[in-house]
Homo-oligomer: 423 residues x 2
């Protein structure tokens, strides 16, 4: 039993692994801006023109010269001459002289010389005769003064021309898609999806479509990790199941490492198979095994290594351990390869329903079910622990999230508000 | 200005809309269990056999009859005769007699008559000569007693045969993929993706690939909503841009309604275009317009309607309003059509950095940026408000989430811990 002499805290272990990886992938591909949803920008995007490109009204009302409305009030309204209606979808090809106004709709372009809009609510229309070549003119009664710029969206108020609006590394969500379309940028460069090779090792493992039968179990980890990698923006590459044989595991890992940006081996859980994984990682390139044993539960036997700038991770074979440690170590590797700018991790605050002991120095991750209650704002949920050995995949299928017990805690008390990372 | 006489609270408005929709879609399709990641189960999945199918060791050690270890301790160890090693990946075709044990690896199958496993840590091996036909035998020293079932995963401990393991409506995450594979279920029935028709209306709107120019703006909403619908598990169907013309809008909406499960119209923001959307919805089928005006900001002009069991939603044209109200009203429609079992919404608790006024009775949604700080566990982030008119899509691109100010609040104070819904 030579292993686990020193168990690293998970944060330290992760930082050490990431420090040995080459930076973000340099490869990129062009993608339609809508298809790029969920991908990561490979280069800065800057605005080819200001947004908006012309001064727009933010309300329905009358475009005016603000100075013409000064002093106007309900008791002492001002009067402006209506000279037209701004068409939607076309330039406002009119200009206001002093004392004039133009009907404008939300989103319409301000005519030149106009610098504010009076909302419809503060106006009244009155048809009056005036000596304009005998034609009847319309006067608009203004019962509220406006300041310069009021109810107007200025040119460049959203973004200025040339401004970097979305930096490299931005993950493209709904709003980014919208911003790109607003600027007429219908395709962007996105980072290639990092390829993560997945190898399942163990004499007892068979493919999911096989009959399992006595002594054998179906491969779970290659599939849960495929889904995890997909969700994180990577591309899983499955290399199938390798027997518990050093040469076979070494050959398959070398092949995967040559073809992928990172490799994950889920080994059997026995000490001998874990040792074999570590021995294989030592042969692949420098620096080899970085961490063998992490002070976390589940996941103590996790092995973190790197070979020539690529991560090689050995996860325990227990499906709960493999998936939880996939979240802890594989996902950050994918994120580093993508060069994605960090975003807050989705969590829920919940109230723990029972006392929970923990070993000081060890970080625990517990599957929990969240039961809605009504105690806003600090806890809308009760967190109920799901007990079960880390071999039982359905304990995770029943869970809404994972409760982290920090390594400096010796336990948590019933009623405490805890943070649950959503699964 | 006939509208907005009564503004419904958003929760009430949403409930009213959902109550008028037909239930979840009845159509389903078969999907490979890994490809089904992110989809929703169309029927209950039950276990074809127990999991595990055979009693397994959860540690490396010796399979024993627990009664043979009773009383064993470090000061007074017990001794058992080693009769073999359990192979991995094959049935354990041996049986233990009294006083015997077998070497077993983690995940290995217990031999018959064995009912517990002693961890390797509590054993020592000693080669001793015994009168077994003159052959040397190996004795194992046991320094710790085990109870029946200790270090054993029992048949059916994860799931029992016939148990419904994943009910209809389950959204398939990593753990569900794993559970399906563990049971050898390599394909499942998933609910068809709800088709949501998207119509953009407005004389000033042009396609994103067009030069915008004076007076015109590019369509944003059809694309942000496409992304939103995709994320929520639906299939967006874009019907392009329709001029501000009743008959044209009516014809396009009828076509979309016939081809889709729900329709969303983003209208111009002026009162007249909003009224036109409502008028069109009134002609499509019963009950027509359900809600015209919601007590929320942004999103007051949102129109919720239903025609013969299908949702027809009119969203404001302002891109921020459209997207925020897409989260509030379109996503729940997609979820209802999928019949997906509810999961907690991803949020982050954060500390507000300034005082914020709000109008009593109105629910406000503010884009916020989350700045990491170190005040666990109640607030790992500061929430900084992003100010900007609801026309400015890049205010949302700069946001990590939306801060909700409930309608019964008249404001929030700096330093308060608030819940931010992640974007």
């Amino acid at each position: 039993m030579p292993e686990f002499l020193t168990l690293l805290p998970p944060d330290e272990a992760r930082a050490l692994l990431l420090s040995h990886l080459s930076g973000p992938l340099a490869d990129s591909a062009s993608a339609d801006s809508l298809q790029a949803f969920g991908r990561v920008l490979a280069s800065d995007v800057s605005a080819p023109h200001p947004l908006p490109e012309f001064p727009r009204s933010s309300v329905d009302g009358y475009a005016v010269r603000a100075s013409d409305t000064f002093g106007a009030s309900e008791s002492l309204p001002g009067y402006l001459t209506l000279v037209g209606e701004i068409p939607m979808g076309a330039p406002a090809d009119m200009s206001l002289a002093a004392g004039q106004c133009a009907l404008i709709h939300t989103g319409g372009m301000l005519p030149s010389n106009a610098d504010a809009v009076v909302m419809l609510e503060y106006t009244q229309t009155s048809q009056v005769s005036k000596n304009l070549g005998g034609l009847p003119a319309t006067e608009i009664e203004i019962s509220r003064a406006v300041a310069v710029g009021e109810n107007v969206i200025q040119v460049g108020e959203d973004v200025r021309a040339g401004q970097i609006v979305l930096p490299r590394g931005t993950s493209i969500r709904e709003a980014e898609v919208g911003g790109l379309m607003a600027l007429g940028i219908v395709s962007v460069l996105v980072v290639r999806k990092p390829r993560v090779g997945l190898i399942s090792s163990g004499d007892e493992i068979v493919e999911p479509e096989s009959a399992a039968g006595l002594g054998r179990v179906r491969d779970i980890n290659a599939y849960t990790l495929s889904a995890l990698i997909t969700r994180g923006g990577g591309e899983p590459v499955r290399y199938g199941i390798v027997r518990d044989d050093f040469s076979a595991l070494q050959a398959m890992t070398q092949k995967a490492l040559a073809e992928c940006d990172a490799v994950v081996i889920t080994a059997g859980s026995s000490a001998s198979t874990r040792d074999m994984t570590a021995d294989v990682i030592r042969t692949l390139g420098a620096p080899g095994v970085l961490v063998h044993g992490i002070n976390t539960r589940p996941g103590k036997p996790t092995i973190l290594g790197a070979a020539d700038g690529k991560a090689v991770i050995g996860l325990p074979g227990n499906p709960v351990s493999a998936l939880v440690n996939g979240f802890l170590f594989v996902q950050p590797v994918v994120e580093k390869l993508l060069g994605v700018l960090p975003r807050p991790r989705p969590t829920v605050m919940a109230r723990l329903t029972l006392n929970l002991a923990s070993q000081a120095g060890r970080e625990d991750w517990w599957p929990v079910k969240l039961i809605a209650n009504r105690q806003p704002p600090t806890a809308n949920y009760d967190a109920e622990l799901i007990f079960g050995k880390s071999n039982l995949i359905f304990t995770l299928a029943a869970a809404d999230g994972l409760l982290r017990i920090p390594s400096d805690a010796t336990g948590l008390s019933a009623g405490e508000i805890v943070e649950v990372v959503l699964l």
